[in-house]
Amino acid sequence: MDHANLIVGIGGAAGDGVASAGNTLALAVARQGQGVYAYNSYQSVIRGGHSWLRLRVSAQKPLNHGDQIDALIALNQDTLDRHLQELGSGGVALYNSAKIKPSYEPPQGVQLCPLPVPELAPSSKELPVMQNTVAVGAMLRLMGLDFAGLESVISTTFAKKPKVVASNVAAAKAGFDYAGAHFQPLPRQLKPTSQKWALVTGNEVLAMSAAMADCKFYCAYPMSPASAILHWMAAHAKQLGICVRQVEDEISVINMTIGANHAGVRGMCATSGGGFALMTEAIGMAGIMETPVVAINVMRAGPSTGVPTKTEQGDLNQVFGASQGDYPRIIVAPISIPDCFAVIQDAFFLADRYQCPVLVISDLLISEGNETVDPAVFEHIREIDRGETILPSANGELPATNGEPYLRFKNTESGISPRAVPGVPGHLYVAATDEHDEDGVLISDIYTDPVRRKKMVDKRARKMSTVLEHLPPPLFSGPADAEVTLVGWGSTWGVLTEAVERLNAAGITTNHLHVRYLVPFQVREVQKLLGRSRRIIIVENNQSGQFARHLRAETGIAANGHIRKYDGEPFEPKHIVAGVQDILNGKAEIVNVLSTEPGWRTDHPSGTSADWKGRLSGIARAATH
C-alpha cells in the first residue's frame, strides 16, 4: 500500500468501554480523512471476559482488520499480558500506569507508553472510563494526527452535556500533550486528507438502505448479531414514518412482515440462524402466496445457540433448505459493509418484481463490523419500482381491469401476475397457503386436480427464468491465466482481496472470483470464469464446505483445495496466504485455520493465567497461523 496503514488493538473486559473508545478513535481519525476497518472480538457477557477490538487505519481504505497490530491500548492488566507480545519493532503499548504494569519484557523495539492517568485526568477517580479518553488522545498524537478531529467527536458525542464535553476534552488533550512530550511517535505517520467518511456498521447500512428503499414496516425479535438493525429502525421510526415492532418470536416476526407486505407496504425483518429456523415455514408461505418479503439472516457460529458473539458462514444449507417444497426465491449475500447498501436496494426491487421471498445472508463480521464508507455510496439508490403491484389509491379510484375478471394468480408467460392488495376495489381474492388455481380458489381439497397443480407450480417456477437478467455479474479480478483461483462468497471478499495482492507480490499468480447471488446461481458466468482456472481454492468460514458443495451442485465444478475456518473468528489475510502455500506444497487439500494468540493456554478457563513466566516459555512454540 502507498499510504501508511496502522492497526490499533484496544482490549479490556466487557464494561471497560472498549467499543466506545474504539468508536471515538475511529470517528476522530475518519474526520481527518482516514479510512477505518474495525473488528471487535467479544463474548456473550455484559461484564467481564476479554473484549478485543482491532482498528485498521489508512488513508487508502482498508478492506479488513489485518493481522499484525502496531499499537496497543490496554484497558486492563489482562489485555497487556495477552497482547504486548504481539507487537513488533516500532510498536507502542499504551496503558494507565496507576493500575497496570507489564508482566514481562516487551518484544525488542516495542515502546512502552505508561500514562499517569490520575495526574492527567483527575476526574478518573470517580469516572474510571476517563482513562480511555486519555489513551485515545495519546494514540492520536503518536499516529501523527491533529487534536481537532477528536475534539469535534467528543463535542458531538456529548452534545447535550457541556460539562462532560469539557472534562473529556481536557483529559484527551492531556493525553495528547503527554504523549507528545514523553513518547516517540509511531514510525509510520498518518497524514490528514480531505476525504469525507461515514463510519458505519453493516447492520446500520442494511437498515438505512431499507429505509431509503421505502421499507415502511420492520419487525424483529432481539437476537445477536442482528439486533442493531432493530435498534437503528426503532431510533428512526418516528422521524421516517416506519412502523417498527418488537414482537413475541420470529414466527410472529415473519408472519407479520409478510402480512404487511401482503397489504401493500414494503416490509423487512432480520434475525440470526436460530430465529431464521422459526421463520422457515412462513417463508414458504410467501413463496406459494407470491408475496414479496425481504428477510435477513445474520449468521453467527452455530448450530443451536452456538457461539452467539462469533462469526461463521455456516447457515448456507439452512437458508437453501428454508421451507418444505419447491418455490421461487432469491438468495443473496453481501460481500462487504458498503455492499449491504446495494444488496438491500436490489432485494426490495427483486421481491416486488418477482413476488417472492428475497433472503439476504449477512454474518457477524459484516453486520457488527465497523467501517468507513465513502458517503457517495449511499447516493446510489434504486428508483422505487413496485413491479406489477396494484395499490389502493387515496381517492378510492378503480384501477383499469379491461372488463376481464381479475385473476390474482393469472398464468402469464413470465409467471408474474398482477398483484392487487386489500383495499383495491374490484379485485377480491383469497391468498392461500393451500395450492390454488389462478383465481385463488383452493385445489387442495375437494377440487384436487393434478393438471392444475402442475400448472401452478410451473407458473411460479417460471418467474425465476428472468431473474438472472437483473443480477450484477459475479466479481472477478486478477489475471485470467493465474496459477491459483480463490473463490469466496459473502464477507470474505475484503480479506481475499488483500490475500490476492500478497500472493501475487510473493510470485504466486492468483485471481479471485466472488459470488454474491447464491440463488439463482449464475452458472454460465461462473463456469466460464472457472473453466480457465488452473487450481481452484474455495475459502469459507465453515467446517463442511457448504459453498463448495453448492458450487459443485450448480456447475459440476469441484475445487482443488479448500481453506476453512470455524473457530468463531474471521479470516485474516495471512491465513489465506499460508493456506494457499500449504495447498500448493501438497501439505493438505483442506486447510482448517485456527486463530490463536501466542501462548494460549487451553488448560486455563480464560485461556490465560497470571503465571506469565510459565506461559511465555510456550510462546516460542506457538503457531500463529
Binding site: 458505519v200 414496516f217 407479520m256 378503480l398 383495491v424 397457503t433
Partner: protein, 299 residues
C-alpha cells in the same frame, strides 16, 4: 366473478358476501352458522367487501375465507393473528376479521393470541370452538374437557381445559364474548358489537363438530348454555366478568362477558408512524434531504 366498485350505490346484502365457492364442511357443521351470521353482520354494518380482510389459519373452520366474499387470506396454522396484525398495521383503514378454530388459536397459535390482545390490535377474532381437532380426524384439543376420549387420548384427556375468556380478561382484551352457532340472532349481535369495538375483540363461538365430537353436540350445548343478558350480568364489571368466565358445569354462560367501558387506544392509534394516512398510502421513499441527514449521522 362480479366486481364491486368503491362507490356502491345500493345497500349491501348477504349475497354480496357470498363467494362463488360453496362451503365444503360436513353437513350440519356448526361453522355454517358462523359463516352465515358473519355475512349478515357485515352486510348490516355496510362494510364494502374490498375494505374487509378476513384472515384465517389452518383447520376446518379456517376454510371460511374461501366461502366469504372479501379480501381473504388462508395463512399458516396458528399464525393468522400475526399475519393479520401486519396487514392491519400496513393499512389500518381495513376492517380485519380473523377466523379460526380452537386448535389453531388456543393450541399452536396461543402465544400470538395472548400477545395480540396485549398489543391491542384493532381486529375481531372469531374462534370456532368445537373442542376437538376435526380436519386431522379427531384428536384432543386444548379446550377438550378432562376425561374426553379422542383418537389421541383413548384413555381419556388427562389435561385441564384452557379457558380462553379468562385468559383474554387477564391479557387486557377489551371486548370478550361467547356465542353459540345454534343461536344465530344472539351471535350476530355479538359480531356487530365486536367489529365496532375500537380494539381487539374476541368472540369465542361454540361451533359443534358433528363428525368427531360426539360429546359436545348441539343438543349438549342447548342443554347447558344460558344468556348472560338474562341474568343481569354487567359487562363493564371486570371482576363479574371473571366470575362468569370461570363458570363451566351444569350451566355455561354465553353472551357479552366484558366490554371495557374506557377502551384503551388500539396500537394503530399509538404508533407515531400510523397517524394520518395508512402506511400503504404514504408517499414513497425518502426525500434527498432526509437521506442526506441519515448519512450525516455517521460522519
Amino acid at each position: 366473478m362480479t366486481t364491486l366498485t368503491a362507490a356502491t350505490p345500493r345497500k349491501l346484502e348477504v349475497k354480496d358476501f357470498k363467494a362463488d365457492v360453496p362451503p365444503d364442511w360436513c353437513p350440519g357443521c356448526g361453522d355454517f352458522g358462523v359463516l352465515n351470521v358473519l355475512q349478515k353482520a357485515c352486510a348490516e354494518l355496510e362494510i364494502p367487501p374490498h375494505e374487509l380482510l378476513v384472515v384465517s389459519g389452518i383447520g376446518c373452520s379456517s376454510n371460511l375465507p374461501g366461502f366469504f366474499r372479501s379480501y381473504g387470506v388462508h395463512s399458516l396454522h396458528g399464525r393468522a393473528l400475526a399475519f393479520a396484525t401486519g396487514a392491519k398495521l400496513a393499512n389500518h383503514r381495513l376492517t380485519v376479521i380473523v377466523t379460526g378454530g380452537d386448535g389453531d388459536g388456543y393450541g399452536i397459535g396461543l402465544n400470538h393470541f395472548i400477545q395480540a390482545m396485549r398489543r391491542n390490535i384493532n381486529l375481531t377474532y372469531i374462534v370456532m370452538n368445537n373442542e376437538i381437532y376435526g380436519l386431522t380426524t379427531g384428536q384432543v384439543s386444548p379446550t377438550s374437557e378432562p376425561g374426553m376420549v379422542t383418537k389421541s387420548t383413548p384413555m381419556g384427556n388427562l389435561e385441564q381445559m384452557l379457558n380462553p375468556l379468562a385468559l383474554a380478561l387477564a391479557s387486557g382484551c377489551g371486548y370478550i364474548a361467547r356465542g353459540f352457532s345454534g343461536d344465530p340472532k344472539h351471535l350476530q349481535k355479538l359480531y356487530m358489537d365486536g367489529i365496532q369495538y375500537p380494539g381487539f375483540a374476541l368472540i369465542d363461538v361454540f361451533s359443534p363438530c358433528v363428525t368427531f365430537n360426539k360429546q359436545n353436540t348441539y343438543h349438549w350445548f342447548r342443554d347447558h348454555v344460558y344468556r348472560l343478558e338474562d341474568k343481569g350480568h354487567d359487562p363493564t364489571n371486570f371482576h363479574a366478568a371473571m366470575d362468569r368466565a370461570i363458570e363451566w358445569g351444569a350451566k355455561i354462560p354465553i353472551g357479552l362477558f366484558y366490554r371495557n367501558p374506557n377502551p384503551r387506544p388500539s396500537l394503530d392509534k399509538l404508533d407515531p408512524a400510523l397517524q394520518g394516512e395508512p402506511l400503504v398510502l404514504k408517499p414513497r421513499g425518502l426525500t434527498a434531504e432526509q437521506r442526506r441527514a441519515l448519512v450525516e449521522e455517521f460522519m
